[in-house]
Symmetry: C2
């Protein structure tokens, strides 16, 4: 396996949302092709990343983390785009969080060397991937454990491989997802880890608070986890000088920063927060989360600006078959639909308009099929077949995974580059 930085990656012309290109064109070459979205030089639907907003979001989160004195290990599963991972590292990220062994492998193939797998590593096929990557001495890796059976399976596998796996203890909440719930489970997991001293190295503690809905519950959970971490530190259970302490999805990172920041269990702590959706933000679930953060968190309030929606989908009006209804060539294959439907932001009539204009608030996507969206419009709406609409979305993760390549655009919708995804 060799590392393949994105600059050598060929444009995949068997996919959607591209313009015409010469044979063998690389992602790096896309900027030189001179495509513009409004000049209809790209096939719609297309997913675009507004570069100025991405840059704003990168700086915003870097600033926020620095003010709290914590580190960012953004969840890479959101975008699975190595070029974006490298942008995140250039803007201060400690490393990249991932969800599965193949995701870790994809990131490694593209030059990422510090990763946290925020899941248990289960199954021989997946252990084999990590074992192969650990042959690279520059690869820094840890994963989580919440089960004695898993700790024994990992111990057995990595002992046989003559390797040592760095692990974090995961705590969870009753009614939640993964993670240790009870002292009995904790004892069992610690005992299993202790059975494999050559193969397993406990280096920290991990939580995912995003299954809880109330701030007070989250704070209580985080405080309980800090208390356990203090106990483990005092008992000398961590094998490295610096303890890793990791939490936070994209909705509650401010509360986690607030609870974890300044934590002192008597040895140094690397506090790693894992929001992934900040990079593109959205106009749905994460805008909603952001509103709470800006009304409650003093540091976010003090920063003045907030995250901006940077991922847009452009699509054509496909059919206007009856009064009050527009069929848009944008489907479940193109946009997330599980946490709110896409919202139309801009309207542009090619060959007529100079600039896109804000779409009326009463144009509303009401349902979607695989390749179509149904938009409710007033009877008198000024809309034609062939008009272009820009949609903003809710839930970046399930939008990114619909696209093998996304285009970077400037504010005039000139295409300035392309990034690939590796789902």
């Amino acid at each position: 396996m060799a590392a393949h930085p994105s600059r050598d990656t060929q444009l995949n012309t068997a996919t959607k949302g591209l313009g015409d290109s010469r044979a063998g064109c690389s992602l790096q070459d896309v900027a030189s092709l001179g495509w513009n979205i409004l000049r209809e030089e790209v096939s719609l639907p297309v997913a675009v990343l507004r570069q100025s907003r991405i840059r704003h979001n990168l700086h915003w989160m870097q600033d926020f983390m620095q003010r709290y004195g914590v580190q960012l290990a953004p969840h890479g599963k959101t975008t699975m785009s190595p070029a974006l991972f490298h942008l995140q590292l250039e803007h201060g990220a400690w490393g990249i969080t991932l969800a599965t062994a193949p995701q870790v492998q994809a990131a490694w193939q593209h030059g990422i060397r510090r990763m946290l797998l925020a899941n248990q590593l289960v199954g021989k096929g997946n252990m084999a991937i990590i074992s192969r990557l650990l042959q690279d001495s520059s690869f820094s890796f840890c994963c989580i454990v919440d089960s004695a059976a898993n700790a024994d399976a990992l111990g057995r596998y990595f002992a046989a491989a003559g390797q040592r796996l760095r692990i974090l203890l995961e705590y969870g909440v009753e009614g939640g997802r993964t993670g240790i719930r009870s002292p009995q489970q904790e004892d069992a997991v610690l005992a299993a880890i202790a059975r494999w001293p050559q193969a397993l190295s406990l280096v920290g503690v991990e939580v995912y608070e995003g299954v809880l809905q109330q701030e007070a519950d989250i704070r209580a959970f985080l405080q309980a986890v800090l208390a356990r971490t203090r106990v483990h530190a005092a008992a000398g259970r961590f094998t490295e000088q610096n303890i890793i302490l990791s939490g936070a999805g994209s909705a509650w990172y401010d509360v986690v920063a607030d609870e974890f920041s300044g934590f002192d269990p008597g040895q140094p702590v690397d506090i790693l927060l894992r929001p992934g959706c900040y990079l593109t933000h959205d106009v749905g679930i994460y805008r909603h989360a952001e509103q709470r953060i800006h009304s409650h968190n003093p540091i976010a309030r003090d920063m003045g600006s907030s995250l901006l929606p940077a991922l847009q989908l452009w699509a054509y009006v496909q059919s206007l078959p009856e009064e009050g209804r527009a069929i848009i060539a944008l489907g479940k294959r193109d946009a997330a639909f599980d946490a709110g439907l896409p919202q139309v932001a801009l309207h542009f009539r090619p060959g007529h308009d100079q600039q896109p204009s804000p779409a009326p608030a009463d144009w509303m996507v009401v349902s979607m099929m695989d390749q179509h969206a149904f938009m409710r419009i007033p009877a008198a709406a000024d809309l034609q077949v062939g008009d272009m609409l820009a949609f903003e979305i809710s839930h970046p993760c399930l939008t990114f995974d619909k696209w093998r390549q996304l285009l970077l655009v400037d504010d005039a919708l000139n295409v300035t580059g392309a990034v690939e995804t590796l789902f």
Copy 2:
């Protein structure tokens, strides 16, 4: 643009659901690697196609269409897998239906030469793709029109290109998706088509009945469309000797076959039905549709067998954090969730079981996140972290688009090949 048959395609090792491979391994080479799912030689989750069931489904649908004397133009958007398209052609398909211009281009790049685009062709970026492909004289193509504005836009574009585009008139229903609703719309579209005699060639009629819920409504709609087709034929509006008449998604193809078969408007008719999901079938919406077909359709009943679910997702039990709850390493990134959640079919304990056994009926997926499923199990369920489960799904289309490669397996879960998808 050159054609790239799948046999030359390299295995994409930056994605999920694969085993270890040597550098530069092609899809064609996968069979020789000797992977077996039950021996844990593949990273889970993995999407597998049960070859014997795929073969059964191919033969079943070929037989069904032949008995009705109609032709199959399977909707390729379901799988977007050129290797599967070629299998469909080898089993009697007339050609492949697609949903977008980039899908048509992807199919063309992989050697498909007869296609129906079951949508309007909207926007210059998309027209440019089709115009480039039409330079290949072996490429046979048609698309649909329901709007005078679109017919004029197509006429203008293809007249300027000195090319002729073959189009089908689409009819729709009030409250439905695309398609002409009224005589006024029909007049306007026909008038627009007539304005571009050099560039637009009306070769048939198309419908999508799948937006209707009741058989009687569907039959009435289809009969009305046949009546209009007869009128157009009598008026000499079709420019080719054979009229194309196309309908049918994956739920009502039997009713469309029944209504269209034997239709005689006074000139030859190519009746093209477009189900796409028959190839893998499912245990959700399409099993439900199949039950109606088998209880109502005399030919299907006479055939004895029915379609079989051929697409399986294998995943690990990731965590058993509390009584009654298993967390499975299978998420919205891996399986459709919009028309019913995945259903667990088989249970296998690596290193212990010889064969998978049927999963108990009371193990039930109750919700999903991006990378996890929550399964409700009885308190006494015999389940361990690291156990393997096979899931069957509802809605193949939105499952295929989660996978860049799917593995072909025999009945012993030996991997016999791989197919790529091009979404």
